[in-house]
Amino acid sequence: MPSLTRKLAAALTLGALFLAGCGAAPADTAEAPAAPAVVKIGVIAPLSGDAAAYSTEMQAVIQNRLAKINTPTAATKVEVVYEDGKCEGASAVAAFHKLVDFDGVRLFLGGVCSSETLAVAPLLQQAGAVAVSALSSNPAIAGVSPAQFSLSYRDDDIGKGLATELGKHTKVAIISEQIDYAQGIHDATVANLKKLAPNTQIVADEVFPTGETNFRNLLAKVLAAKPEAVLFDPNVGKNAANLLRQAAELKWNGIKFYSNAAYLAADVGLAGVPNTFSNGMVLIDAPQIDTPELAALQAEIKAAGGSTENLGAYYTASTADGIDLLAKLAIEFHGDAAQIQTALATSTFDGFIGKGLKFGGEAFVQGVGVGKYVLTDGKAVYQK
């Protein structure tokens, strides 16, 4: 009687399971989950392409902080896993899925580019993950996901700063790259210009696709519109220097130039741009941070063979604070992304950026202003 044998086997199996369940300790007397030996933090960053130099320096900052976090006596070690977001949405999403599905990561430092962050943020809650970006500044990040935070300043603060400068002129032109970072700054600048300087006319507003390397006709078109000031708004990287190099070939005759962070880095490659052209260019970007703690951090990284010249002071600080904050909360909450998200939204923390910083339920860290720099002999000089 085979069917009877099968029924008997099933009954015995169920009975064994029932007894095993009865033998388990009741929930209210269960032991607290042990602290994990390793917590993983995923980093989605442009490891290749024009923005790769920033990622290389971020890795140096992260390595420095990990050495301080992963002490020999630490009960929980923090491990960082890197994936290439290529500074664009599709690759960032692929990187995210790889980290979540194959590496089991739920905590993220990233993206770096706003394109990466904007693409990944909608996926966080479903994946049970939380992310803190150190560099993404597009204001569209706010409101995409309660699990996405950013330690960067906001582009609309940059836009306000640029609009304040551009508003000193009656005719201005804007040249921006078709990428989330640059378009965020463009939209914020235009909106603030309308509010702060309604008499300032935008006589040319040109957009070029990412990957475009020949700007001569676009520059000639802008020059023909006879602006008094031009805002160069490209993405960071060597192509920004290419844009300026080609602009320097034309005769701009006293026109004032403004830009974003693209020309802040020391090795942006302004070698082919005459100082007579670029001197006096006003850059609006993150505020300068010159605390002894940050100076010591930068010195340590330099001594270890690394560099923070592309990141600059603010983004070095935000990267260090990002990894420190995530690691601290990961250890405290045993890697529980939901609890970490709540802690990020409600807590106050001290870091290299400053003291008493908080997100206050918002996506962006509160209370960060902007700084003004002026290009002098190829270097950006902070204006106090």
Partner: protein
């Protein structure tokens, strides 16, 4: 004056496209295959020049490096495709050439990185013609294009090498029967055209920025120019199409005010190509013969 400045700058880009279109036309003539790898080949040779500069090579050593690598790439490209050429597998040949180019670009990105590089740190002052401005790289491009166009016409029309090339292009079997070594003609053409592609890549990189996909952007427009000009038609059609497909979209985008940004250029290129192909499907200078 603004119109003339745009026209001048567009002519530089048009000349770079024309040079690659001539490369495509010439190799198509002797193989009936669209050799789409020449964009990547030109980029690879530009990277060789850059790498030589970074290593501290002088201009002569760099030129020798350029020649050696051009020879290697020409041979690799030729032998990859010779069998399919002889057996008239034209679609497979086109795909093989495309794959060779894509693979070469990917390799360049792996070896040199995807970030843009300035071909040379040396700066040359732009040339001014009254109110018009042309970078030195643009002056070289126009000069080189002019010399090349004249040279090609001369070789094709007035030399034995040109007659052999035209014989192979028109009827390979008959030419072989007359004692022309078609395979040798093809090999020489590949060598010469590889040098041409390398020079174009070098000029383009100097004029803009050296990136792994520098050649892809050029070869796409050059290929469309070849199709619009008529692959089996005279070279003059391809040359004219190359300039039409670069100058007209550039002028349209640059002279219109409003929302027509640089991003519209590919739309205009394809739109213009479609119109020209509908009007003149056999080539812009070719009339369809009435069947008798």
């Amino acid at each position: 004056m603004h119109f003339l400045q745009i026209l001048l700058t567009s002519f530089v880009f048009g000349t770079q496209v024309m040079l690659l279109a001539v490369a495509l036309h010439t190799t198509y003539a002797v193989s009936r295959i669209f050799q789409l790898a020449f964009g990547a080949v030109g980029t690879a040779l530009a990277y060789a020049v850059w790498a030589g500069g970074q290593a501290g090579f002088g201009w002569f050593s760099n030129f020798i490096l350029f020649l050696i690598l051009a020879g290697g790439l020409a041979a690799a490209h030729f032998y990859l495709l010779e069998k399919v050429t002889v057996h008239h597998h034209t679609l497979i040949g086109t795909l093989l050439s495309f794959a060779f180019g894509m693979g070469l670009e990917a390799l360049l990105a792996i070896i040199f990185g995807a970030d843009g590089k300035q071909l040379t740190a040396e700066t040359f002052a732009p040339w001014h013609f009254g109110e018009l401005t042309l970078p030195f790289s643009g002056v070289l491009t126009l000069a080189f294009g002019g010399v090349l166009a004249t040279g090609f016409v001369f070789i094709l029309e007035y030399t034995q090498a040109g007659r052999q090339l035209r014989a192979v292009a028109e009827n390979t079997a008959l030419a072989t029967g007359q004692g022309v070594q078609a395979r040798r003609v093809r090999l020489i053409i590949f060598g010469v055209v590889t040098l041409l592609a390398g020079a174009t890549g070098w000029l383009r990189a100097w004029d803009t920025l050296l990136t792994p996909n520098l050649g892809f952007n050029l070869i796409t427009v050059a290929f469309i120019a070849l199709v619009v000009g008529g692959p089996r038609a005279r070279l003059s059609g391809t040359v004219a199409a190359a300039y039409l497909l670069t100058v007209v979209p550039d002028l349209t985008v640059s002279l219109t005010s409003g929302d027509l940004s640089t991003s519209w250029k590919p739309v205009l290129v394809f739109g213009l190509a479609a119109v020209l192909l509908l009007l003149r499907p056999n080539g812009i200078f070719t009339r369809t013969q009435r069947a008798v």
